[in-house]
């Protein structure tokens, strides 16, 4: 069973996506901490697409889909623009250096990668799709 939502690219819709994911996960008998982690991972990817890939252009849309199969939780975030993010070049940041220089951003994908089992980016035509997976035993 797949659940899906389409949102326009504004930060106001971050809450909408969190509520959508949270309502779906509420029926999955997961701990509050785990539900929060999964919501956070999706929120971080959606925020990146809204703010960085689409420059908060409300005329652009994202599709968010949730699927659970054999205790594997899958989240798919599809953006109608080509990706500028290159996961292959991702390196874990040094948080002590971030503190030293007062850096405000840059820990979102660190959270996503630490929470999820797999993080995959792919391009289909002009669309970019990020898929997040976590298997729970």
């Amino acid at each position: 069973m797949e659940h899906a939502i389409r949102i326009s690219c504004t930060r106001r819709n971050l809450k909408v996506v969190r509520d959508f994911v949270g309502e779906y996960l509420a029926g999955q008998q997961l701990s509050e901490v785990l539900v929060n982690q999964l919501i956070l991972a999706v929120d971080e990817v959606v925020a990146n697409f809204i703010i960085h890939a689409n420059a908060e252009n409300e005329k652009q849309f994202l599709d968010v889909r949730v699927k659970v199969l054999n205790r594997e939780f899958g989240f798919e975030i599809e953006d109608g623009t080509p990706s500028t993010y290159s996961p292959g070049s991702y390196q874990e940041p040094d948080l002590r250096e971030f503190v030293r220089v007062g850096k405000k951003g840059g820990v979102g994908m660190m959270l996503v990668n630490r929470i999820m089992d797999r993080v995959e980016y792919s391009t289909v035509g002009e669309h970019t799709i990020c898929r997040l997976y976590k298997t729970l035993t």
Partner: protein
């Protein structure tokens, strides 16, 4: 996100109410950026009603931590919900920042 302030001669307490994300974190950043905050001894963050924090919220604290330390201002979090504390722990921020259980503990830091 609603931020309630309570100030004494030496301490500023900010009670956070709601969700701290890429949309709301600018409010907190504005509060922590005020120059007078560096004249206090302690900034206590009451997290009892903080239901959610994303990297944008964490980034606000990360970006001010060194400035506070340089000015000898202690930044202390208390009353943090388990799910919020877990987000700090995922990144190891609980070892870079001071997180204590209660307001009494925060006052004693």
């Amino acid at each position: 996100m609603k931020i309630t302030q309570h100030a004494t001669e030496t301490t500023l307490t900010l009670a956070l109410n709601g969700e701290l994300d890429a949309s709301s974190s600018v409010l907190l950043d504005n509060e922590l950026s005020k120059p007078e905050i560096l004249r206090t001894q302690k900034v206590l963050i009451d997290c009892q009603q903080l239901n959610y924090i994303s990297s944008a919220g964490l980034g606000v604290f990360i970006s001010h931590l060194q400035t506070f330390q340089d000015a000898n201002v202690k930044l202390v979090f208390f009353n943090m919900q388990e799910k919020v504390r877990n987000v700090f722990e995922i990144l190891g921020l609980d070892s870079l920042m001071t997180i204590v259980p209660s307001e009494a503990d925060a006052a004693a830091v």
